[in-house]
């Protein structure tokens, strides 16, 4: 009888329903699935699943491994829809896997044009889903709709010309009847944009240029006597978030170009290094906040905008939590963009604080020059695109952090040539020969280390940190059982107690973790998954 019951469950639980807009809106109410890049529109990377606990996490064991047929970095966070996992094998192969066994149902392969020349690898961070359709943004700047049942392409559109340096690495985000993406390519002098496309046809619904054109508000923050705005970068390469009540979608914008030489682009260079709040239906700008006006340090603001509803000075408030590459932790009012808090979460020497409106106060002399200026945080930032997490249970905000880390910023003259890199200098190592340039690690702690830092969002105070020897490119997942999962360059995947940072469990996954962990449940069993090296690993409690 028991076996018969199991078999009924076996057949019944594997039924898949279409992913409706309503399911996406309420995705945090079906924690057995992971329906968007960040798990939910609020991008908290917090799961209500609680089968794995601080007490039993030591009993986690590996369930299956998916070895990608790719030597590229594995940066994708998979989706799980009713027992089917969808991930991307870099550069642009979508794979449908049985989430219980890792076996492949189908693979859709897109071979990107050789003209695609991204700065930092032919990577991809995952897909979006609506109905029975998956959406993938490609490294040659195409958006492809794929049938989730059989892996067949439904439409395939060119978003931007890859030969001019445009590329896409992010997971799209679906809201209502639109799929929204942004373009990478900031190192190539593109003019970035965020755009929405009809989910059924791929027809463009709206486009928001991240650098305003002539006559548009913000254009005056670019020089009037040159066309610097036409190739000023401001790329978008990490997925945004969405507040359906406000009908606003939030996206982080990359740095201006040339990256390290601000001379050709005097002014604040909007909307580079900003977060923008856009009307989902029209793409109209509701508000923006610029973290780093006239950036010269490659401080992309391409972090994931994390949305939380918390008490703020005695009243409930809809806020946005943001640990920026520039080293500051921010709290913004996400309805208005009002600056509520800014505080360093790592060592910062380029700005001394903020004025009343939240504009950072630059420290005189802290700017790239021909000899090199030592700036904290260094070029990779205090954090970067790595997924942060907010746990409503602990009330803490968790940041993958590069601490004690600096770069020497060198400025150089550079002419803009379409399709070529347009940096205007670059960062130099502050340690002879650099650190972590080989498989072996010789670094001292004061030369930089990686950490998970837990912040109280009300004050920006660090409550605890978990130090690693090496720096980290890994995202963070928190769960309702007070667990925090993350990894790092050292090749460990580990679980911490989200309340105090105590290490509870670790597994050697044998390769750098350059992705965000996620969790799902199938047939009553909770799994956690993480991509590391060239493979995707899943774990569950020993049975």
């Amino acid at each position: 009888m028991k076996r018969a019951l199991f078999l009924i469950v076996l057949i019944a639980t594997s039924l898949q329903a279409q992913v409706s807009n309503d399911r996406l809106l309420k995705s945090n109410q079906e924690p057995q699935n992971w329906l968007t890049y960040s798990g939910h529109y609020n991008a908290q990377r917090y799961s209500a699943l609680s089968q794995i606990t601080p007490e039993n996490v030591k009993n986690l064991e590996q369930q299956w491994i998916f070895q990608a047929r790719s030597l590229e970095k594995f940066e994708a966070t998979p989706l799980v829809v009713d027992g089917i996992m969808y991930t991307v094998q870099a550069p642009n192969d979508v794979v449908a896997l049985d989430a219980a066994t890792g076996r492949t149902f189908w693979t859709y392969s897109w071979t990107p044009e050789s003209a695609a020349r991204p700065c930092c690898g032919r990577v991809n961070r995952g897909v979006a889903v609506l109905g029975d359709t998956l959406f993938m943004a490609t490294i040659d700047a195409r958006l492809i709709a794929i049938d989730a049942k059989n892996g067949r392409p439904l439409w395939n559109i060119q978003i931007a010309p890859p030969e001019k340096g445009y590329a896409m690495t992010l997971a799209p985000l679906v809201m209502k009847d639109k799929v929204i993406v942004g373009t990478a390519g900031g190192e190539y002098g593109i003019r970035g944009f965020i755009a929405a496309y009809d989910v059924k046809t791929g027809k463009e619904a709206w486009k928001f240029y991240t650098i305003p054109g002539p006559g548009e508000p913000g254009h005056e923050t670019w020089p009037a006597d040159s066309n610097a705005w036409e190739h000023g970068g401001a790329s978008v390469w990490v997925t945004g978030s969405y507040d359906p009540d406000l009908n606003l979608t939030y996206w982080g914008i990359g740095n201006p170009g040339p990256d390290w030489n601000g001379d050709p682009r005097p002014g604040d260079n909007l909307y580079s290094c900003s977060v923008v709040a856009l009307d989902v239906d029209t793409g109209k700008l509701k508000w923006y906040y610029q973290f780093s006006p006239h950036d010269e340090f490659d401080y992309d603001s391409t972090q994931v905008p994390v949305l939380a509803d918390i008490q703020w000075q005695g009243s409930p408030r809809k806020v946005m939590l943001w640990a920026n590459r520039n080293g500051f932790f921010y709290v913004l009012d996400r309805a208005t963009g009002q600056f509520l808090l800014g505080k360093p979460f790592v060592e910062v020497n380029w700005a001394s604080g903020f004025d009343a409106k939240g504009r950072p106060q630059r420290v005189p002399g802290m700017t790239p020059n021909n000899q090199g200026t030592l700036i904290l945080p260094g070029n990779q930032g205090g954090t970067n695109w790595y997924n942060p997490s907010f746990s409503p249970r602990t009330g803490l905000f968790y940041i993958p952090t590069w601490a004690n880390y600096s770069s020497l910023y060198v400025k150089q003259e550079q002419e803009f040539v379409e399709g070529r890199t347009y940096g205007g200098g670059g960062p130099r190592n502050t340690v002879p020969q650099g650190i972590r340039t080989t498989a072996n690690n010789f670094a001292k702690e004061d030369e930089g280390y990686g950490a998970i830092r837990a912040l109280d969002p009300h004050t920006g105070e660090m409550k605890w940190q978990f130090k690693m020897t090496d720096v980290t490119d890994a995202g963070i997942l928190t769960t309702a059982s007070n667990l925090l999962f993350s990894g790092g360059r050292e090749g460990y995947f580990y679980a911490l107690d989200a309340r105090d940072g105590k290490l509870l469990w670790r597994a050697n996954v044998g390769g750098r973790v350059i992705s965000g962990p996620m969790t799902f449940s199938l047939n009553g069993r909770q799994y956690v998954a993480i991509a590391a090296g060239n493979s995707l690993f899943t774990f569950a409690l020993r049975q």
Binding site: L7, L10, I11, S14, Q16, A96, T101, R103, F105, K149
Partner: protein
């Protein structure tokens, strides 16, 4: 681009080709020639290689040489392939010519109407997002299969079932039966798209039995459609080249 230039030369076969040669050639052709020349070899009008007449050279060795060396001044580039393998492609081209010319010409628009209406094809097959996923997706079938093969599939569906289209029946220990298209399998599990268009994965140890369905689930249209209607449907299918 690997494009042979065809013309009015006479077909002269010098090698004795076996069925195994032809099959090997079919696979070589699919890997190296099909994308430019198409499944019937006539995608490039001035370089029709599917009907046995070649503009440059006529012997097997001539053709093998052109495949291996390319043709200067044309998009036909040299293919890095051994002489025996090049000769298998020649074997396949010869076999294509032998079988060519037996298809009545059809009207693709009428065929589409039959496909979606009288023929009931969309109840099992999908084209660019429309129709059922239970049978093979036909969105790109015209770029992959010869018209001869398409016609044969319509009148004699059992004649050839490609491995990716094999149907499976699994029976759970409680007797529940699921049929569908096999997508993958290993020693312990199998994956399929079932008749309700659900992706399913089974542990073999939980199944009473599982077996391939011997015959195609597709009916023969030999007596259901007229010759002209069949030609129309074939013409429609041949026009399906994907996105």
């Amino acid at each position: 681009m690997f494009i042979l230039v065809a013309g009015p030369g006479t077909v002269l076969a010098q090698h004795e080709f076996t069925p195994a040669d032809i099959e090997a050639g079919r696979q070589q052709y699919a890997n190296t020639c099909l994308r430019c020349h198409g499944p019937d070899g006539d995608l490039i009008k001035e370089a029709d290689i599917g009907h046995g007449k070649f503009r440059r050279g006529s012997t097997d060795d001539d053709l093998a040489r052109m495949i291996r060396n390319g043709i200067e001044g044309t998009p036909m580039a040299a293919i890095n392939i051994s002489e025996p393998n090049a000769l298998t492609i020649v074997a396949y081209l010869r076999s294509m010519a032998t079988a060519a010319g037996t298809i009545a010409s059809g009207d693709a628009a009428r065929g589409k109407t039959i496909f979606e209406g009288k023929g009931g094809c969309a109840s099992c097959h999908r084209v660019l997002g429309n129709g059922s996923r239970v049978g093979p997706d036909l969105s790109q079938i015209g770029g992959a299969r010869r018209t001869l093969e398409l016609q044969r599939s319509l009148v004699d569906p059992d004649a050839e079932i490609v491995p990716a289209n094999r149907m499976l029946k699994v029976v759970a220990r409680d007797g529940a039966t699921v049929t569908g298209r096999l997508l993958n399998q290993d020693a312990f599990t199998l994956q399929m798209l079932d008749s309700r268009e659900q992706l399913r994965s089974f542990s073999k140890s939980n199944l009473r039995e599982f077996s391939f369905v011997a015959n195609s689930t597709m009916p023969s249209y030999k007596d259901k459609l007229s010759s002209q209607e069949l030609a129309d449907v074939v013409s429609y299918l041949a026009s399906l080249k994907g996105l």
